[in-house]
């Protein structure tokens, strides 16, 4: 299997159903060789928890680390095993898989760790699947990893349970509302056919539409917040349109096309899609590449670039998906997440 020469293992933990098995596997593979081994358990606190002074996440992290330490000591029996624990992300924004990978790499460097053991269900605070992008980013920063072989008993059960009901109800509501919007909500025939069509659509497509089940409370709140976001977006579009129109109509046409890279602090499919689409929708900024939260944006004029670096749209998208507190974030420029790049370095 894996070479067992390495004795120091880094094990990122989150409260998943398989965290116990991951710890067990890490202990076994650490003790496979001879001589003393070192296990480093780390809990990465997601961006919103670390910076806002909310201590609840930190307490949870300490609690999890304490449990992991006990488990490791149980499993190690008499093996020569020392356990280190740490909480990562308290002094930096951890958002997407790349941030996690970089944070792990920095920790691995400091502590001379040579391999990472990943929990297949690793999900640190984020709502989107983490494992595959994280593996890609770990490979990119050159950190060796292997995935703990675990059994996931409850997984399939959970998918046909409450979550798929939520998906079904969400999809049914959306398609029924859309049907009646096109038809006549007071005509009985449209109501009946609407129910039939919505039922068929939601049975066949609800798993395609929602890769993550909608939340009963959060999703409607997000929809309302999105409705608040639309006027702001329209206003930004009008402003940008006028600015670009003025530049184009000037005989000298003072354009300054530049490529920029923005490390956006939104993660997951839908929030990123909203941000990248909003950026492209405003003339003057155009998303050329989107690699997780790293967006390569082509900017046409100085004003548009300043607006982009100020991150007003990013803040608005964070407000829509994460709430009001999350919207108060430093601008990409202040965070050092915005830079002008040349055409050949993307």
């Amino acid at each position: 299997m894996y070479p067992v020469a390495d004795k120091r293992l880094l094990v990122p933990l989150s409260t998943s159903v398989t965290v116990r098995q991951t710890v067990g596997y890490a202990v076994r593979s650490a003790l496979e060789g001879d001589g003393p081994a070192e296990l480093h358990f780390v809990v990465a606190v997601p961006d919103d928890a670390g910076m806002s002074g909310d201590t609840r996440h930190l307490e949870e992290a300490d609690d999890l680390l304490e449990r992991a330490r006990t488990w490791a000591n149980e499993d190690a029996d008499d093996g020569a095993l020392s356990v280190e624990t740490a909480v990562l992300g308290t002094d930096e924004y951890l958002f997407g898989p790349r941030d996690y990978a970089e944070s792990f790499a920095a920790y691995a460097d400091d502590n001379d760790v040579d391999r990472v053991v990943l929990d297949p269900e690793y999900l640190p605070g984020a709502t989107s699947p983490m494992l595959q992008p994280l593996e890609r980013e770990l490979a990119a920063v050159g950190l060796a990893y292997d995935e703990a072989p675990v059994e996931r008993p409850a997984r399939r059960e959970r998918l046909v349970g409450a979550e798929s009901l939520d998906r079904f109800v969400g999809m049914f509501g959306i398609s029924f509302a859309f049907y009646l919007l096109l038809g006549d909500p007071t005509y009985w025939f449209d109501l009946v056919t609407g129910v039939v069509v919505a039922a068929i659509v939601s049975i066949t497509l609800s798993h395609v539409t929602f890769s993550i089940a909608p939340r009963r409370i959060e999703s409607p709140i997000r929809t309302v917040r999105f409705a608040l976001y639309v006027p702001l977006l329209l206003w930004e579009i009008v402003k940008a349109n006028v600015a670009v129109a003025l530049v184009i109509l000037r005989p000298s046409m003072p354009i300054e096309p530049k490529l920029t890279r923005i490390n956006a602090r939104v993660s997951g499919g839908l929030p990123l899609l909203s941000l990248a689409n909003s950026i492209t929708l405003t003339p003057g900024t155009l998303t050329v590449r989107a690699n997780d939260q790293r967006l390569v944006v082509h900017t046409l004029i100085e004003d548009a670039r300043e607006d982009l670096f100020e991150g007003r749209l990013e803040r608005a998208v964070r407000f829509v998906f994460y709430g009001r507190e999350a919207a108060a974030i430093a601008s990409p420029e202040e965070r050092g997440d915005a830079e002008i790049i040349r055409g050949d370095e993307w």
């Binding site: 349109n241 670009v244 109509l249 046409m253 492209t280 003339p283």
Partner: protein, 107 residues
Amino acid sequence: MIETIRFGAIVVLVAGGLFFTLVSTVGVLRLPDVYARAHTASQADTLGAGLTLAGVALALGWQSATIYTVLLLFFVFLTNPTAAHAIARSAAETGVEPLTDEEGENR
């Protein structure tokens, strides 16, 4: 009186839509490369179609066809950035170097 205001508003909206569509055309002709042109091409969709459809909605008044107009606008706003991004991305993938202004490289 109200009819006159409404008529005036419709004319202003449609004229605005036409203006931005014209600007977009001028931009596509004047701007240097595919990336810069993609910016201005989206103007025809956002404010060009946007203002015109707002004028249409106002002209139709309060009826179900107005809802279709708003929906139409919604879908234009969804598909426009997707198309613009697809064009820019495929240009980047086929190796089209963006024409960039390298003097102000001090930020």
